[in-house]
């Protein structure tokens, strides 16, 4: 039971340590905000379509770690085992969520027994079977869920998110 706390401490330190090299390097290549960029700006955020895995990789009720829209935004890909609203795939049961608590950004752990994500920081919890609804907690939004598409080969792609991800003022980081 307590192992999740230890895992979380490690993950938290990682985030606190600012070891976020990939995003930083990418950002450095982007031009400073200016006229050229303003002309290209679009009303909505363009999300990447990222392959997260294949249905064959998933085990029912065992979350797979993912990063979306980029590696610095941790999440899980999960085959619930029974159809849920918003679930993707042939069984309508595949979902993906950010695992940074939208309260203060702590790294949440999955509790398989009741299919919830739980925050070690201040004990908020979110229901993976109900679109990430906060069951109880301090966040002022439900958990960001990633929109999924499954192709005919069983490859699962993330297409977007439905709430702002903790720690970024644009879900797709912009320079």
């Amino acid at each position: 039971m307590k192992c999740n706390r230890l895992v979380d401490v490690g993950r938290r330190q990682f985030l606190r340590g600012g070891v976020l090299g990939v995003a930083g390097a990418a950002a450095a290549t982007v031009l400073p905000a200016g006229q050229a960029q303003a002309q290209q700006a679009r009303a909505m955020v363009d999300y990447p379509s990222n392959r997260l895995g294949n249905i064959a990789d998933l085990v029912v009720n065992e979350p797979m770690d993912i990063g979306y829209p980029d590696a610095d935004s941790p999440g899980i890909l999960l085959k619930i085992g029974s159809p849920v609203e918003g679930g993707a795939g042939p069984d309508g049961d595949i979902v993906a969520y950010s695992v940074l608590c939208p309260h203060k950004g702590y790294y949440m752990s999955y509790h398989a027994a009741d299919k919830t994500l739980n925050c070690p920081g201040h004990f908020s919890r979110f229901d993976c079977e109900k679109g990430g609804q906060q069951v109880w907690g301090h966040a002022t939004q439900n958990l960001p869920q990633f929109t999924l598409r499954v192709d005919d080969k069983g490859d699962i792609y993330a297409m977007g998110a439905d709430e702002l991800i903790y720690g970024r003022l644009s879900n797709v980081l912009e320079g």
Binding site: M1, R5, R12, L15, R16, G17, L20, A23, G24, A27, P32, A33, M44, Y47, D72, S73, G86, H103, K104, G105, Y106, Y107, S109, H111, D114, T116, N118, P120, G121, H122, F123, S124, R125, D127, E129, K130, G131, G132, Q133, Q134, V135, W136, G137, H138, T140, Q141, N142, L143, Q145, D162, E163, L164, G167, R168, L169, S170, N171, L173, E174, G175
Partner: protein
């Protein structure tokens, strides 16, 4: 499907954005926030922004450089649209950057013409005309109120004017607004028939504490961090005072404090304490509901018998002798010395266990954690927090008095790591002329209205329909009496002002009630009103309040009022001026003169006329400079550019709240006597389920803004009632089913939420909801001083519907975290 905003990018606060001090206007903790505003067509960038961080990168846990969509809005400031971000202040000692599920929605819960939030806010005065409410000017609305009111009051008799007025800080309360209303009703008038926002009379909720000499807010929050034991009684701070729990109690537990929690149900607070301190350091006492006095008296007896009392403190700071104040109609228990209280409250472990349903071992363990000296002989520090579980529970006066007995006996008042304090609901902000003329016990206003009392009713941000007891009957009578006036007004549509006044007076003389409602929204009791006046909240005005450790701060105005809405103090001033004019016209010169003195241009003028006169060191400029950390009241001076305050009350061991010249605290001589309020034992005997009730963390008070907040209403479309799954099975109930909760005084509705930790036949229902008022089924029983006992209600439960589509979509999982 869970509500999602589908906001995937927010405007960035630019460097140089305006910053305003904000104290959260919801709960008593008063977390510090900063409101940033900047012009609508400008924004910061990822590399040039308010905080100087590189926002092209993912920010870390606990970052200052992020805000949620709920912390953002577009509002009017000086007539122009501006961006608004209200985010928690990391430099505020109260919350250290933590936001709560309430406060972190402040921006979203502002009215916005651009984003469409809180369109329910009132923007113009409304009067009843042509069979509904019509917008009108302030002059027209106040003139009507003044003319009707003047018909029923006179210099020597204002008893036909009933007034319901908030007494709190925060929100739309505060020192400015309690003074404005207080000056009108307690200085210009001497209104006797009045009540407070959440209870049916005008009185303290903690009479016994004050009578014993102890103000109910005597510590500071840091005392939780340095104590040995946290004793929580009838309070659920993880939900109701969230950041007091997370930012102070948690630190105390991390520093080694143990926790004793007296509560008939296993709350989220119990679970959270176990998570932080380890279950071995948390003692939950699941007492038989209403048996608090028995528990406290047994603990007091045992601690005294063990010799764990603080003899030096008792000798130096408490009354020596026998009885200091005899019991009578104003004092529900005698007050006296330590030894006199020991004799009166004496209760053996066996008697205590029988009354509370606890084991003797549990009571002994609690006593040891609270009072047993440490192995090295040093005293154990214990801080005690209590709230509605006993305030609105059985035998209020003795329950609080018996708890304070333990704190006084162990010397835990006025010392570091100590204090016996209520945890509170709203912030405080009370500054009014004396209320002594109201009397003690105070008149039971809501029952008097039911009995036909009153002709004109002025309501200031009260919603009896959601927050009174015996609410089913109250609503029936109130609607009938106010409708009599509406019908009379409808019958004279087109009449002159004078003719209309005559029609109204005729209706009220026949038993009708003329209703004036001052509020920020069109409330449920407001549906009965004939005149509705729009008020503002903090942030829409400058507003001063103090929190649960007496921390006084100024929330700066950061946006315009909705429409022509005004601060309550300015509305009170306008009403006073209208009354003066009408009375003078009528030739009642001497009476009219009483309504002089309201020539305030701003809320700051009201502050200076009231609070500043009693506290001349305190000004807006000085408070502004003190920022979100403010100053702890009482303010003692001003030096080196700063206000100086009082870190903790009674550090000198001199107790003053009762007004005794000897400065000695008194003990409460209140023996355990079972159910105190009328009708409780009978209702318990004839109904199956206890309908315990209270708050949940996301629904603020009576949901007045939350009922217009999608995030909140998506979670609980109607109020929940938590029921043991075995009871559900027996009644044939599924999660989400709509049930009717009914008893001898009324009925209400709720959705079924399974709660495995609920004891059989003991439910918990959320209080004050707009679409399922729990008060409908609370009987009229009160204590000797008219304190309501909302908590003790019994009823039967029957299914009335399967889950509604909205209720079927929500989560019914346990609230307890699994790590």
């Amino acid at each position: 499907m869970a509500y999602k905003r589908n906001i995937d990018r927010l405007p960035i606060i630019p460097a140089g954005a305006k910053e305003h001090n904000v104290t959260c206007h919801y709960c008593i903790v008063g977390c510090g926030y900063t409101a940033y505003t900047w012009p609508l067509k400008t924004q910061g960038t990822t590399d040039r922004n308010w905080i100087g961080e590189d926002l092209s990168k993912q920010q870390a846990t606990d970052t200052e450089a992020w805000y949620a969509p709920s912390m953002y809005n577009v509002v009017k400031q000086d007539g122009k649209d501006v961006h608004l971000v209200i985010k928690p202040d990391v430099n505020c000692d109260v919350n250290s950057g933590l936001g709560s599920i309430r406060g972190a929605r402040m921006a979203e819960n502002r009215r916005s013409d651009v984003t469409g939030t809180q369109r329910q806010r009132l923007t113009e005065p409304l009067v009843w005309r042509y069979g509904t409410w019509q917008p009108t000017s302030w002059d027209d609305a106040l003139d009507l109120v003044a003319r009707v009111t003047a018909k029923v009051i006179d210099k020597d008799n204002e008893n036909d004017l009933y007034v319901s007025m908030f007494d709190h800080g925060g929100s739309a309360g505060g020192y400015e607004n309690t003074w404005g209303t207080g000056k009108l009703y307690f200085e210009s008038m001497k209104v006797k028939h009045c009540r407070i926002h959440n209870r049916p009379a005008y009185m303290s909720e903690v009479h016994s504490s004050r009578d014993m000499g102890v103000d109910e807010l005597n510590y500071n929050y840091a005392d939780y961090e340095v104590t040995d034991t946290i004793f929580l009684v009838g309070t659920n701070p993880m939900e109701c005072q969230t950041n007091l729990f997370l930012n102070h109690m948690v630190k105390g537990m991390q520093n080694g404090a143990r926790v004793v929690i007296s509560d008939p149900r296993r709350t989220v607070t119990v679970d959270s304490c176990e998570q932080v301190a380890g279950a071995e350091n948390v003692l939950h006492l699941p007492i038989t509901t209403g048996s608090d006095v028995a528990l406290h008296n047994t603990l007091f007896t045992y601690i005294a018998d063990q010799g764990w009392a603080d003899a030096d403190f008792i000798a130096a700071s408490t009354f020596q002798g026998d009885v200091a104040v005899a019991a009578d109609s104003a004092y529900p228990a005698a007050l006296g010395s330590y030894e006199a209280a020991r004799a009166a409250c004496k209760m053996s472990l066996a008697e205590g266990a029988a009354a509370t349903g606890l084991t003797e071992a549990q009571i002994i363990q609690a006593a040891e954690w609270i009072a047993k000296p440490k192995d090295d002989g040093s005293r154990r520090k214990c801080v005690t927090g209590y709230e509605k579980g006993i305030i609105w529970g059985n035998d209020n006066y003795r329950a609080i008095g018996s708890l304070l007995n333990i704190g006084l006996a162990t010397g835990n008042v006025g010392r570091e790591g100590g204090g016996v304090c209520r945890l509170g609901g709203h912030q405080e902000g009370y500054y009014r002329p004396s209320d002594a003329h109201v009397g003690r016990p105070a008149p039971y206003i809501d029952q008097m209205i039911i009995a036909g009392g009153g002709k004109v009713h002025h309501i200031w941000a009260n919603d009896h329909f959601k927050t009174t007891l015996n609410a089913s009957e109250f609503k029936r009578v109130y609607n009938r009496r106010s409708n009599m006036v509406k019908e009379a007004m409808d019958a004279r549509a087109g009449a002159t002002r004078e003719e209309m006044i005559d029609a109204i007076v005729g209706a009220i003389n026949a038993g009708g009630l003329f209703v004036v409602d001052v509020d920020i929204i069109h409330s449920q009791i407001g549906q009965a009103a004939h005149v509705i006046l729009p008020a503002v909240e903090s942030g829409e005005m400058n507003l001063t309040s103090m929190n649960g450790e007496r921390r006084l701060r100024l929330t700066e105005k950061y946006m315009d009022a909705p429409g022509s809405a005004k601060p309550d103090c300015m509305i009170a001033a306008g009403l006073a001026q209208a009354l003066e004019r009408v009375l003078r016209e009528e030739g009642r010169t001497e009476y009219a003169d009483q309504f002089k003195g309201y020539d305030w241009a701003t809320e700051e003028d009201a502050f200076m006329d009231g609070y500043n006169k009693g506290n001349p060191e305190v000004t807006y400029d000085r408070l502004r400079a003190m920022g979100n950390n403010g100053v702890l009241e009482p303010v003692t001076g001003f030096a080196d550019g700063k206000l100086t305050g009082t870190n903790r009350l009674y550090e000198d061991g001199v107790f003053t709240r009762h007004g005794r010249e000897d400065g000695k605290a008194l003990f409460c001589m209140g023996e355990w006597r079972g159910w105190q309020a009328a009708g409780k034992a009978q209702q318990q005997a004839s109904h199956r389920f206890l309908i315990n009730n209270g708050r949940a963390n996301m629904n603020w008070q009576n949901w007045f803004l939350d009922q217009g907040n999608e995030f909140v209403m998506d979670r609980f479309p109607v109020p929940f009632i938590q029921i043991n799954p075995d009871d559900m099975a027996e009644l044939g109930l599924k999660a989400g089913d709509m049930v009717e909760v009914h008893n001898d005084v009324g009925a209400t509705q709720a959705l079924v939420y399974p709660e495995p930790s609920a004891r059989p036949n003991e439910t918990f229902m959320i209080f004050g909801a707009p679409n399922g008022a729990q008060g409908n089924i609370v009987n009229a029983g009160v204590n000797e001083l008219i304190l309501p006992n909302y908590k003790h209600t019994w009823a039967n439960i029957r299914k009335i519907s399967d889950a509604t589509p909205a209720s079927a979509a929500v989560s019914y999982k346990s609230w307890e975290v699994e790590l």
